[in-house]
Amino acid sequence: MSYVELSFWDLALAALLLIANGVVSVWFRLGLERTLAVSALRMVIQLSIVALALKFIFTLDAPIWTILFGLFMTAAAAFEVVSRQERRIMGPLALALGAGAPFFAGLLATMFAAIAVIGPEPWYAPRYVLPIFGMMLGNALSGTTLVLDAMTSGVVRERPAIEARLALGAGRYEALDAILRRALTTGLMPILTAMAATGVVSLPGMMTGQILAGIDPVSAAKYQVMIMFLIAGSTGIAVVGAGLGSVLLLTDERHRLRLDRLAKA
């Protein structure tokens, strides 16, 4: 099997397809030409920088750079969690929860994969650790965002019911029980759907990439299965962490519902 290296001219040729989007935008007066150009340019620049950074880190093969890059990814993830919330919980603890839940879940799953499942030499080999950590982080991040969003909108919508339960002597976990369970389901739904639909509806990006790079489809599928299990695990950990953490942040030690801690809509 062979692998066809892409030249820059090939990429320029592929970029011609964006003209179709441009035509649609002009034709229907959507006014998206500018956004389209900026988005495409951002993608090219971001991927170039990441590719160069990864190349640099791979040649260094030093754990400190792997860790630094992982922390950089986490910081970017934290920014995403905050900016994607409709009504976020205010304060440094909420930020720590939004970044911490995906980070620890991703770290746990990545360490598990690197040490127990794949076992590269050395175990911190950035070629394995960083892409896997990125995938874990990204998925755990979506789960965390969904859970936090479901929790904050849930407590605002169900405030009378929650406070009725509190007034009748229920504790905070009991009073938020229904909302927490619904939020956890929401957070886990994407990965469950993804596992059920993988291979039938969509061929996962990672597997496609490996096949294009000349790997045997069966080997590629094996890697994909492992990744899906890891994603399911890390998303589960992040979702539960974010759910339980947000119950603590949305209530206080006197079992009161604290909607005053939410940013104004």
């Binding site: 169900e158 009378p160 019911a161 406070e163 009725a164 509190l166 007034a167 229920a170 229904a178």
Partner: protein, 207 residues
Amino acid sequence: MLRVEHLRIGALPPLSFAVADGECLAIEGPSGSGKTRILRAIADLDPVEGQLFLDGTERREMPATEWRRLARYAAAEPGWWADTPRGTLPAAAAVQPRIVRLLAAVGLDEDVLDRPVSLLSTGERQRIALVRALVDEPRVLLLDEPTGALDIGSTALVEELIRFQLLAGRSVLIASHDTALIGRLAHARLQLAPSARTPKTARMPPP
């Protein structure tokens, strides 16, 4: 005996008062004057400064869940977390006869518990919520507009039920616009000014 000391709510001056067992305190004032906030604060549902004592025990000396079992707040618009009222009532067999008795006292049949909450009238919901608040026999009742959605007949039944709670030695705090009801039930009044600045308390002869 419920004792409130230096309770600070919004722009109101610090409130201090006591409500003895079997006594009813009415909280009067226009909308937005702080009636609901006072009741919620006594139920420890909002973080406020001040001390609250129930038979000499300060609220912070016991878990909040325990405090709210003793000082029971019933909101003007009750909340529901199950499809039918039965899902929001204790399921223990021992309390079922008491639930049925309380329902009868406010003019409702037991089968109302299995109808979807969304199909019940506002008045039915409010009366079921009152029953729900009374089932585990709290010491202090904090009733926010308990008759706000009721017709004359139901109001009379609820008034009787409240009077019975007073006879049983419970303290009752009522926030209500219904001056006639307050006139018949209350031993004392707390009047909140429209601007939420200067409350006046007046002692009345017992009804």
